[in-house]
Symmetry: C2
Subunit: 192 residues, 2 copies
């Protein structure tokens, strides 16, 4: 059940994951920053840190799935939408002092080989993004296999560019990845 | 100074970082797995875990810089080399049970906002890869700005594809990212 306390714990944890990942974030830091007692965290998340993390990943993932239509809808064509998607991601990243990129990616790499329930949560989010992007781009006129391929290529390029951009405090990787993906969109003829 | 013990500590730590990242890897696990006493680790790395991690990142990074020419040299053209690069990365990842992707990326995301010496080490590695790739592709006939752009695009796509491939236990992201980058190479006319 969604309550203010439960939501505050989820939002605080998502923020800490973006900054420092799963293993770098302790339960004590979460309850301190969310201004809630330990007991409240375990009341809302009886499975402890793994359950909380899985819910953070799924909740943030569902929110981020809404960004693609929000950015692509006003764009005159998909190639422009793709370039704008990377430009806005870069703008937001720089404004957050290179902190606020993707709340899923760090956790995904940390847990992929060592925490199966959390790995499945990150897999579910990527699958959701791929399905949502494929459906959206199909509705904008791409054949479904092409829509799927471009969605996956765009997510890969974006996630990788976030790594280089945060490491190097530079927008260049996002600009280059955005150009690369945009060119790929421009090369695909829409059916409509 | 390189000694067998020092090298064993570096190699063990690199392996643990690939599997579980920086924060998930404890000093005790490193010395246990490297079969060396605590004192030996601090003898070789007086700066402790941060110094050790920075050296692991730089050492592994320098080794990985050699992979680009090793894969591209035998390829008849750069588009084929790029596709082969992603294919071999996927083959290796699957053989390692989705564990052995990049020893830098997880650490890079974990430390980007919270550990400045380690962030700099990851930045230096990415800069090294970009410089080495730019030089290699220039020698293979691309104009330098194009060579730089394709190198950065390739690293972004590869790092992002590793995240999705490990999360989803699937080669599809590496195949799609490889096709995307390969198409980009095919679209760039060589000067030579």
């Amino acid at each position: 059940m969604a309550t203010p306390t439960r939501n505050r714990i989820l939002e605080t944890t998502a923020e800490l994951f973006r900054k420092q990942g799963y293993n770098g974030t302790g339960i004590k830091q979460i309850v301190d920053q969310a201004r809630t007692p330990f007991g409240s965290l375990y009341h809302h998340f009886p499975g402890g840190k793994t359950q909380l993390a899985a819910e953070v990943v799924r909740t943030a993932g569902a929110m981020y799935a809404l960004l693609l239509p929000a950015v692509f809808d006003p764009a005159p064509d998909l190639a422009t939408g793709a370039r704008e998607f990377f430009r806005l991601a870069g703008e937001h990243l720089e404004e957050s002092n290179w902190l606020d990129a993707c709340p899923i990616a760090t956790v995904a790499l940390e847990v992929a080989s060592v925490n199966e329930p959390l790995r499945e949560a990150t897999q579910d989010v990527f699958d959701l993004w791929i399905a949502a992007g494929t459906q959206y781009l199909s509705e904008r006129g791409l054949a479904e296999p092409v829509a799927r391929r471009l969605t996956i290529g765009m997510i890969c390029a974006l996630e990788g560019a976030f790594i280089l951009a945060r490491a190097g405090r530079s927008l260049e990787p996002l600009q280059i990845a955005g150009d690369l993906v945009s060119a790929q969109f421009a090369a695909e003829p829409a059916r409509l």
